[in-house]
Amino acid sequence: MQPEQSSLPEAPAAHAGGRAGRHAAPSWRGRLHGLGPVAGLVLLCIAGTLLNSSFADIDNIMNVLTRTAFIGIISVGMCFVIISGGIDLSVGSMAALIAGSMILVMNAMTAFALAPMLVIVLGMLFALALGALLGLAHGLLITRGRIEPFIVTLGTLGIFRAYLTYLSDGGAITLNMDVSDAYSPVYYGILLGIPVPVWVFIAIALLGGLVLNRTAFGRYVQAIGSNEQVARYAAVNVDKTKTLTYVLLGMCVGIATVLYVPRLGSASPTTGLLWELEAIAAVIVGGTALKGGAGTMTGTVVGAILLSVIGNILNLTSIISVYLNAAVQGFVIIIVAFLQRRRS
């Protein structure tokens, strides 16, 4: 009784397409399953070019990729955390806090009349160290403190942003002019025709892929995500591995911040707003299971690019009411997730 009922709505289509059509459907879907995000991205790019030919301009493509770099780099770290079965909701606030603290530290160093170059290098190291430290705090609270990652990072989501707001008096923290000028090539600079942040994004993504697929740590992460108990029996140091994924993510947030600060030379309470959701969406749209266990770095990178392409296309055309921008984004995310869904 049951199967018949569920196949009822398909019946007319099956008649029309005949037996061959019915067989073709699952295999067509099966092929798309792995390629879902890529197919989605290609379709979007074709649509974008048709709607406005400027979309395919090299300048526009570089704009989009540069914009993606922040979320993309964070997504690489997020990919590890999610594959291991965890989650981090605080990355946007963390980026804001790191950006603000980094600017304050750099301004303080400038007051000691250090050379701008030295100030920048020390500032970058500070950002990475602070990111790693905040990630370590997450990791320890989750593994040693035995608190759900959702709760730990929901807590720090509020804490980090509140501290930035406090440090900035609710306004903006602005980088010293001379340092800002010396620092701006890190975001605006172009190397061999490709902006610096895109190079960094490529490097981090390749490194992330390598660590995930070719090292013991990467395999441990996947093992913990598919079955934590079994991983434990197989003598994997679960607590250490999990903590490391958060440290890694913290450092990725640090790197993203290092690229973000020279863009506007300032941090404000709106910095990094909703980055956590974009990063998580990029990872999931890219085909990683939210419950952990399996995922790919390529998918994550494509997912991150896909999200910013949607926004870019919407800005380049005016066929859709500006009130519906967020809805279009939502539809595309759901459609792509549908294309790459796993069959149980």
Partner: protein, 321 residues
């Protein structure tokens, strides 16, 4: 049990209210509560700063006046705070900048019923009978002055792109006023108006995409000084020279300083929409109540065009905004 408790509570409140109003009459003391949003971005930070500024100045000038400033991070918290202001701080006058119009109308009405004189700032309540006076900035002039300035600057001919804030009535009023002026000049073309959410990062992205999409732009109405900041960065990056003017809005101190110094040729003017209106509202309410007078039903703090000539009157280096 519940019902008797509620009766008791109503009784206590009524007694408190009676005690309050008779006390106020006897001593003519004004106990003024100020309820405002917490400082989460530069504009609200300015609101907090100006409120405390008003408290310091007015309490010094009037020994009969006590001002209590409370900030809250959301509408429910603000509603609770209103109750505390009445029962704990025993206020007899209130200046409130509501988070939302609809959800705070009832809590404010409750206070008014108990004899508190209510001045509402910036966002009006849905039921105006819940307020005694209304003080606000001039959103229509905010859009109109910007449009008139740009039309004049472009000699009535050119292409403009605009940014919008967050979809709210306030944003709509500004945009409508801007459009109304632009429509009168057929040679001025408004190419597009998109949301930049009143923040630098989103404005940067929107402007980048405008620059990709439109090969020629004469002027940008950024509609906010923070958004203007992002717009300037995007123009700088694209090295575009066709844009002659970027017009922000609100009169943030960084922008006013730029106008005074003449340090950026793209920034020549701004329009004021200062968080100082909370200062004006507190001052007007306190001084009127000390004399036992009422405020006019509606007071509009005018938005003024800021140019190099008058910029120094709008420059408050100590304010966070």
């Amino acid at each position: 049990m519940n019902r008797s408790l509620r009766k008791l509570a109503i009784g206590v409140a009524a007694m408190a209210a009676m005690g309050l109003s008779s006390g106020a009459m006897a001593q003519e003391k004004v106990n003024l509560g100020v309820s405002i949003p917490a400082a989460t971005h530069s504009f609200t930070a300015g609101v907090v700063w100006w409120s405390n500024q008003a408290k310091a100045e007015l309490e010094k000038a009037h020994p009969n006046l006590k001002v209590t400033v409370k900030t809250s991070s959301g509408a429910p918290e603000q509603a609770n705070q209103l109750q505390d202001l009445l029962t704990v701080n025993r206020i007899n006058a209130l200046v409130i900048m509501p988070f939302e119009s609809a959800s705070l109308t009832q809590p404010v009405a409750q206070l008014k019923k108990k004899g508190v004189y209510v001045t509402v700032v910036d966002r009006g309540l849905t039921d105006t009978s819940a307020q005694d006076a209304y003080v606000s900035g001039d959103n229509t002039a905010f859009g109109r002055l910007a449009a008139e300035y740009l039309v004049k600057k472009l000699n009535g001919k050119g292409d403009i792109v605009a940014l919008r804030g967050i979809a709210t009535t306030l944003d709509n009023e500004r945009m409508d006023a801007f459009n109304a002026v632009i429509k009168k000049h057929p040679d001025i073309k408004l190419l597009d108006a998109r949301y930049g959410n009143w923040n630098r990062d989103d404005a940067f992205k929107v402007m980048q995409d405008y620059l990709t999409r439109f090969k020629h732009i004469d002027a940008v109405w950024a509609a906010d000084d923070d958004m203007a900041f992002g717009v300037l960065k995007a123009i700088e990056q694209a090295k575009r020279t066709d844009i002659k003017e970027v017009f922000g809005g609100a009169g943030a101190k960084g922008m006013v300083k730029t106008i005074i110094d003449g340090s950026n040729p793209l920034i020549q003017a701004d329009v004021s929409y200062s968080p100082k209106f909370i200062y004006d509202a507190i001052k007007l309410t306190a001084e009127a109540r000390l004399k036992g007078e009422k405020l006019p039903e509606t007071t509009i703090i005018p938005s003024v065009l800021i140019t190099k000539e008058n910029a120094k009157d709008f420059y408050f280096p100590d304010s966070p905004f």
